[in-house]
Assembly symmetry: C2
Homo-oligomer: 126 residues x 2
Amino acid sequence: MANRSENAPFAYDGLDRVFHEKARLGIVTSLIGHPKGLAFSDLKQLCGLTDGNLSRHIQVLQDAGLVAVHKGYERNRPHTRCELTDLGRKRFADYLAVLEKVVKNAADAAERSEEPDPDKVGWKPA
Amino acid sequence: MANRSENAPFAYDGLDRVFHEKARLGIVTSLIGHPKGLAFSDLKQLCGLTDGNLSRHIQVLQDAGLVAVHKGYERNRPHTRCELTDLGRKRFADYLAVLEKVVKNAADAAERSEEPDPDKVGWKPA
DNA sequence: GCAAATAACTTTACTATACAAAGTACACGT
DNA sequence: ACGTGTACTTTGTATAGTAAAGTTATTTGC
């Protein structure tokens, strides 16, 4: 069988560290809506990041093979364009699926505990 | 006006660092379904964490005032019970709302980019 | 009744990394 | 030629997640 999630339903193994980070989450959700890619300065604005931070996070995403970085010149100035790779798109879809599970888990649990009947809780401590 | 999210729609300022962490996310989603609280060993199993990790993360959550820790003895052994505080429940609801927004943002963006018509993208680079 | 094992944690140490601050390079206006 | 602005990169630091070792007490095997 699979991993420990058999016994540990709240382990959330699938939450990829590379995506699971405020800044990078912003970058990737920005990119997913722009298949042609986005410029460094665009991302900076959209995600409210400083130059240094953005640079570093893009590097992490690039090293992981999740975004492709195209460096060139435009209007005689350096111009960096980033776009999601196919792998990035796929992996992010997986990540999102886990996120949705988290949200659903929480919603279900919160709902169940509205009716505080001790016999009705799904899981029983040993 | 509010914060930078005016100009930075993908900043995700609301993603509280204390919750936004694999292990703690597991702990809290476990706890939210058990209003009476859970024992240390139960959490350990449910979240697939080592003793040391769990101890540390509980401490963080406790220091932030998000979970209450009751230490006592049961069957002549130390027995720690953790439960969400009201603050914790409220803050986590806020966090979840942002998470949902992330998921929705991504879903919308992915859908929009299915039709790769450059005139239809919502945001236009400067 | 003593040693070894187990339970239930806590503390310490290491490692990774997010973020900020400073640095580099080039172009443009004046 | 000189400062100003754009577009990044590099370096440094402080936080924090994780693993390993330590602590205390309580059963269990011999």
